[in-house]
């Protein structure tokens, strides 16, 4: 791995932008960004016909985390729809040609920090935390309001299933395909299956990975919603709950929303921006399912390493990290059962 942009990639990007714009494009600076396990990201400055553009490149690394993950072309079209509808997200600029071996797209580079551990330690951001989580809520309201007719074809629940039923079914399938028999998973899945919250039939654009780590933030607030590859159609509670998982608090456990603020401020932001009614029990249910899914996903990631498709110490280590979500699941269920039985 190197932090220099490979010459072949540089040539591919310059040729693509030149051809789309009809003006000579030259990359004037490139820097590798710390990215996820399935995508590489670069900060790139391009001069197009003498005009400078500050961009970010998102490029496939060859392996998907999930069968539901969007390809770069769909993510590009989705970003267009979201930005056009007023969602605070980077405007997409250019993408690779159909059929590219490793698809990519370039999008506008927005200011702000996305690394969770840095965000929760930045004094100016922490001080603005209550306001920032309100903005998180408002941003999700804008995501959930994107008109469905403007979206590219996205994954969603099959005809006979509700979003919760689909999510349970996918989780069960992921557990089976791993072939691991884990009592916490079995118990949590059974517990959740017996307590599926009612669904009001609202089907919306769900970002699918809305959490600190995928949100650009600075002391002025939320600057942009990133990483749309897990977007799908579903229940808004799924999105609202995901950022409240303990793992996305980055050790600031008392601040339920991304380690920055509390749930009331976040939901106030959602409601004030026109988000629909929120059922707190449904939120808890999706949060618990989120912990189960994240635990199973950690093992799926470890399997990429163990199976040899993508050897990586980071992926291997995620299998052990799953114990954090498993602890959380048992702890939360214990407390809910305790309250239910009035002990």
């Amino acid at each position: 791995m190197t932090d220099a942009l490979p010459a072949s990639l540089r040539a591919e990007l310059e040729a693509a932008v030149t051809s789309r714009e009809g003006a000579a494009a030259a990359i004037t600076a490139a820097r590798r960004l710390a990215g996820g396990a399935s995508m590489e990201s670069w900060s790139i400055d391009v001069s197009v016909g003498g005009r400078d553009e500050a961009l970010v490149l998102r490029r496939d690394m060859g392996a998907n985390m999930s069968a539901w993950a969007l390809d770069r072309g769909t993510e590009f079209a989705l970003l267009h729809a979201a930005v056009d509808a007023g969602v605070r997200a980077p405007r997409p600029r250019w993408r690779s040609a159909d059929g590219a071996e490793r698809a990519w797209f370039l999008m506008e580079r927005l200011p702000g920090e996305s690394v969770g551990r840095k965000i929760v330690k930045d004094p100016a951001i922490v001080a603005a935390g209550p306001r920032i989580v309100e903005e998180f809520g408002a941003a999700l309201a804008s995501v959930h309001a994107v008109p469905l007719r403007t979206l590219p074809a996205l994954p969603g629940p099959s005809e006979e299933r509700t979003p919760a039923g689909e999510a349970l079914s996918q989780t069960r399938d992921a557990m089976r395909s791993l072939g691991l028999r884990n009592p916490v998973w079995s118990y949590a899945l059974r517990w959740l299956s017996a307590r599926v919250p009612p669904w009001d039939g609202r089907m919306v654009l769900v970002h699918g990975d809305f959490r600190v780590g995928n949100l650009l933030v600075d002391a002025t607030g939320l600057r942009g919603v990133l990483d749309w590859e897990f977007a799908h159609l579903g229940d808004p509670h799924e999105d609202l709950a995901w950022i409240t998982l303990r793992d996305w608090r980055f050790e600031r456990d008392a601040k339920a929303v991304g380690g920055l603020g509390d749930l009331d401020a976040y939901l106030h932001g959602y409601a004030s921006a026109g988000g629909g009614a929120v059922d707190r029990d449904a939120l808890t249910w999706w949060e618990l399912l989120g912990n189960l899914r994240w635990a199973v996903t950690c093992h799926t990631q470890a399997e990429r390493h163990l199976g040899g498709s993508d050897r990586s110490v980071e992926l291997a280590s995620l299998g052990r990290k799953a114990a954090e979500m498993e602890w959380e699941l048992v702890d939360r269920i214990e407390k809910l059962e305790h309250a239910h039985h009035g002990r």
């Binding site: 791995m1 190197t2 932090d3 590798r32 960004l33 710390a34 990215g35 590489e40 028999r181 884990n182 009592p183 916490v184 998973w185 079995s186 118990y187 059974r190 017996a194 303990r246 050790e251 456990d253 990586s312 110490v313 980071e314 291997a316 280590s317 052990r320 990290k321 114990a323 954090e324 498993e326 602890w327 959380e328 048992v330 702890d331 269920i333 214990e334 059962e337 039985h341």
Partner: protein, 126 residues
């Protein structure tokens, strides 16, 4: 002259070696790296060496204790797979059975977490 029990005792111990490699990565390699991705992955590599050292130091006593504890749960499951089958069949849907299972699972989670991230349980249990 060494006793029988330590006839193959190695110095430094395997834990010492893992800790040495961990320190090398964290203190000497990481500060020299500029590529953010490589730096992060090297920190992870140092972390997993620490996990391995703690797990080796723990020995296999706790695993035997948890197998015994599992066999005392309703249905006396002899393996995690057998326990999962019992869970799937509803054997732990009752209040008392569920409470016993959760206690056993959580104790085992905490043992795993002691190796993975010793500060986690201390932090979340406050």
């Amino acid at each position: 002259m060494a006793d029988d029990h330590d006839a193959f005792e190695q110095h430094p111990s395997v834990q010492d070696l893992l800790e040495a490699a961990q320190e090398h990565l964290a203190k000497k390699v990481v500060p020299a790296l500029t590529d953010p991705r490589l730096r992060f992955e090297t920190l992870v590599a140092a972390h997993v060496l620490g996990v391995a050292a703690r797990e080796l130091a723990r020995g296999d006593g706790p695993a035997r204790d948890f197998a015994r504890g599992r066999a005392e749960l309703p249905g006396a499951p002899a393996s995690d797979a057998a326990l999962c089958d019992l869970i799937d069949a509803g054997a732990f849907d009752g209040e008392a059975e569920g409470t016993a299972l959760r206690a056993w699972m959580q104790a085992r989670n905490e043992l795993s977490l002691f190796a993975w991230n010793p500060l986690f349980v201390m932090r979340v249990k406050g």
